[in-house]
């Protein structure tokens, strides 16, 4: 029973911190300091810095370009990155399609796709949700029909395709057998965004960032060799991805940073002639949220300790997403509350609001997504009710 990291792990943490202190490009550092929203080219600039260092894909096998870290190192690295405010890397290549190709792809696919995911030369997006297939994803209707000439012809619409406007490739779940039971007729297909008939149209989020798109497929011709795994076997693979290590899913590092920001704002917001941070009732509010976060941190450590021992994610990780996403939102809610009327500011046209606060309202809006994406919290609860509590479906 031990709550601390080993001296070697602490040394590793220092190495990461040192790297973050010296190697973050100035334009990224400047934006990190005000917790601003990073544009795609900034995200990719940072991706390439990490790539050159050999740290861009912590959970990939060493022979494919991973750094060869264990679960604790991956966690420490991820936590330090989150706390640093540097751009969160796009997960679609590195954390989603990459690991799926590593696990289920053939050699040709591995050689074709993995090196460019790693280097950032090719950017990816995810084509899962559709206008009528959200939580009920298996009801998806985008079809891929065998044209008899070695291709699938794809028709349909994907939505919430985050960063599709910047992506070179999209990985999709498509229906390849309409007669089969709904989960059984689905394949996992890689589609070049330059394919004629593929069109991505960005939508603004409530945070006024162009994060996601509607993506249409009109008779897009895709070579059959772009199917990963067996035809009609896509659903099982997509689900298998969810069984991977999930020690970062609680975003504890991000919330740690967000809460520090709340305190910083409260320390220079004045009420009755003194900083709000010294006001007893506000202090208690902050403490209440921080304690929630600290409880989740220990929970996260338990999940990590399990991962270190090679255990599959158990009940202790299943709650990280639910509670972590709620805390992320509550941090921004509290920041807004601390700011009072300053929370009205919508980006910066004047200097009424200090630079470090001008992104708060945007994040406050955008982070409403945390309880929705990656399986809404209600779906997470359905899964726990069924899989862990054994309640009838």
């Amino acid at each position: 029973m031990d709550l601390s990291f080993t001296p070697e792990q602490e040394a590793f943490r220092r190495e990461v911190r040192e790297f973050l202190k010296t190697e973050v490009p100035p334009h990224i550092k400047a934006k990190a300091e005000v917790d601003g929203h990073f544009e795609m080219d900034e995200v990719m600039d940072w991706h390439k810095v990490l790539y050159r260092k050999g740290w861009v894909a912590p959970h990939w096998p060493k022979e494919l370009g991973g750094p060869g870290w264990d679960a604790a190192q991956r966690f420490l690295f991820g936590e330090e990155l989150e706390k640093s405010g540097t751009p969160l890397l796009s997960p679609f290549g590195l954390s989603m399609v990459g690991p799926l190709i590593i696990q289920f792809g053939n050699d040709a696919q591995k050689q074709r796709f993995l090196p460019k995911i790693l280097s950032g030369e090719e950017k990816w997006c995810q084509g899962y949700s559709e206008p009528d297939a959200g939580s009920d994803l298996a009801s998806l209707r985008t079809t891929a029909v065998d044209d008899g000439n070695g291709n699938f012809v794809v028709n349909g619409q994907k939505t919430w395709t985050t960063y599709a406007q910047y992506a070179d490739w999209i990985f999709c779940l498509v229906r390849t057998d309409s007669s089969a039971k709904k989960q059984a007729g689905i394949s996992f297909l890689l589609i070049d965004m330059k394919t004629p008939g593929v069109r991505a149209v960005p939508m603004l989020t409530t945070g006024h960032t162009p994060a996601f798109c509607d993506t249409w497929f009109e008779n897009a011709v895709v070579p059959k060799e772009n199917v990963v795994g067996p035809v009609n076997g896509g659903w099982g693979m997509a689900k298998a991805l969810l069984g991977h290590e999930r020690t970062m899913i609680g975003a504890v590092g991000q919330s740690t940073r967000a809460l520090l920001r709340v305190k910083r704002i409260a320390s220079h917001t004045i009420l009755n002639g003194k900083p709000l941070l010294e006001d007893g009732s506000f202090r208690t509010k902050i403490a209440r949220l921080e304690i929630k976060l600290e409880a989740l941190r220990v929970q996260n450590y338990r999940a990590l300790a399990g991962a270190q021992l090679g255990h599959a994610p158990g009940p202790e990780s299943s709650i990280l997403k639910i509670r972590g996403s709620e805390i992320q939102q509550q941090c921004l809610e509290l920041a807004m509350e601390v700011m009072g009327q300053n929370s009205l500011a919508w980006f910066n046209e004047t200097d009424i609001v200090p630079a470090g606060e001008q992104w708060v309202a945007s994040s406050f809006n955008y982070l409403r997504a945390t309880t929705i994406y990656g399986g809404s919290n209600e779906i997470q609860r359905n899964v726990i009710a069924k899989m862990i509590l054994g309640l009838p479906g």
């Binding site: 029973m1 031990d2 709550l3 601390s4 990291f5 792990q9 604790a72 809460l259 520090l260 305190k263 910083r264 320390s267 941070l277 007893g280 202090r283 208690t284 902050i286 403490a287 209440r288 921080e290 304690i291 929630k292 600290e294 409880a295 989740l296 220990v298 929970q299 450590y301 338990r302 990590l304 300790a305 399990g306 270190q308 021992l309 009940p315 202790e316 709650i319 639910i322 509670r323 209600e378 609860r381 359905n382 726990i384 009710a385 862990i388 509590l389 054994g390 309640l391 009838p392 479906g393």
Partner: protein
């Protein structure tokens, strides 16, 4: 980073789990303080726990589990003690380990000389006596520094006067550990419960246990009854309260996990509209929220169990306040949901869920409530961030 129990800890936990088979909730029901209001039985048991069972616990080594071997204990860690408390919480075992071994014994351990520790703790370790810490006063809420009980030095003796409330196990203890104000500050005294001038009023508590109001009027004590050095009582009491709070978190986790699965089981068997009510999403999600809170209670109880005996006071306070505030918020939510999901049967005295609800509520009111721990946490160094 390691949350696995070692083999000895697994054995300890197993033996505590085994013990609860001989002390199911039905045993607690027979022993509990009862009555009052309409239709209640008259008080059936004036102690609410059994000396013979206390002796069994002594034989298992539990009554000195985390005390050093030099005073007759097993020399295990405080975390090991919390493993036992968690298990005993699952069937509401009423013997006063938390009150006597952890709280009162903890104060002796932190405040008394080794000789005094041997003298006071020795007989308890053997199961012959039990202790109570009388620290709380009427208008002090959770402030252990609010002490109006006085101890005056007269020649070679001390004269104690004052009134203490809610002394846990005070109704049964042979020895009371009492805080009193002396010239040098707050000091701890060992007071035989049958000493002249000590008046003990046993009081039922909501959870079916008992505590006491202790009135002291010119109680004469010897110089050897002052524990440790005069004026050094407060840090010892505060440490003991942190140990007890951590113990309460472990017990609270035992309660939460018990009512969680009791409730899930009920949702599976109770039928309405021709189906198990556990198939309704509104109820499933409430049950999942119970699960989420229970998992977090497990994490924070472990944190507190590992840190409550830490020599770094701020580390200790930080961990304990996190866990106790989590128990207040999460533990409450779990037992409240358990009753709600049971429906009408959940508010009958015959169903066990209400007993767990009461015990959880008592644990939340003891050793600092949510407000107390939130404000203590917010006053720790470093809270304001960089």
């Amino acid at each position: 980073m390691d949350f696995e129990l070692n083999d000895d800890q697994k054995l300890l936990k197993d033996s505590a789990a085994q013990f609860t088979k001989s002390s199911p909730v039905t045993r607690f029901r027979k022993l509990r303080s009862h009555g009052g209001g309409h239709g209640g039985e008259v008080v059936s048991h004036d102690r609410c726990w059994e000396p013979s069972v206390w002796k069994q616990m002594a034989d298992l080594g539990w009554l000195g589990l985390f005390y050093p071997e030099s005073v007759g204990g097993l020399g295990l860690s405080f975390f090991d003690m919390t493993l036992v408390l968690e298990e005993l919480g699952k069937t509401l075992v009423p013997e006063p380990i938390l009150a006597s071994v952890v709280l009162a014994g903890g104060a002796v351990l932190k405040g008394a000389s080794v000789e005094q520790q041997k003298k006071i703790l020795g007989p308890m370790i053997e199961g012959k006596t039990s202790l109570a810490l009388a620290w709380a006063e009427k208008d002090g809420r959770y402030d252990a520094g609010h002490v109006s009980t006085t101890a005056k030095k007269e020649g070679g003796t001390w004269l104690l006067s004052g009134e203490k409330v809610w002394a846990l196990n005070g109704h049964a203890a042979e020895t009371l550990i009492v805080s009193a104000r002396t010239e040098a500050g707050i000091s701890l005294f060992s007071v035989p419960s049958n000493a002249k001038g000590v008046a003990i009023e046993s009081a039922k508590t909501m959870d079916g246990q008992r505590a006491a109001r202790v009135r002291l009027s010119n109680v004469v004590l010897g110089s050897e009854d002052l524990l440790g050095t005069e004026g050094t009582g407060l840090p010892a009491i505060e440490h003991a309260l942190d140990l007890a709070a951590a113990g309460a978190c472990a017990e609270g986790h035992g309660i939460a996990s018990t009512v969680l699965w009791m409730t899930v089981n009920y949702l599976q068997v109770r039928k309405q509209f021709n189906v198990a009510i556990g198939s309704f999403q509104a109820l499933q999600h409430r049950a999942v929220d119970m699960f989420v809170e229970t998992e977090l209670l497990k994490s924070t109880a472990m944190l507190a169990g590992m840190k409550a005996d830490d020599s770094d006071v701020n580390e200790r306070r930080r961990a304990v306040s996190i866990a106790k505030a989590q128990l207040a918020a999460g533990g409450k939510r779990v037992v409240e949901s358990a009753i709600q999901l049971h429906g009408g049967i959940g508010i009958t005295d015959e169903h066990d869920v209400g007993l767990y609800f009461k015990r959880m509520s008592v644990l939340n009111a003891l050793f600092g409530d949510e407000e107390h721990h939130l404000s203590r946490y917010a006053s720790l160094p470093g809270f304001e961030g960089a």
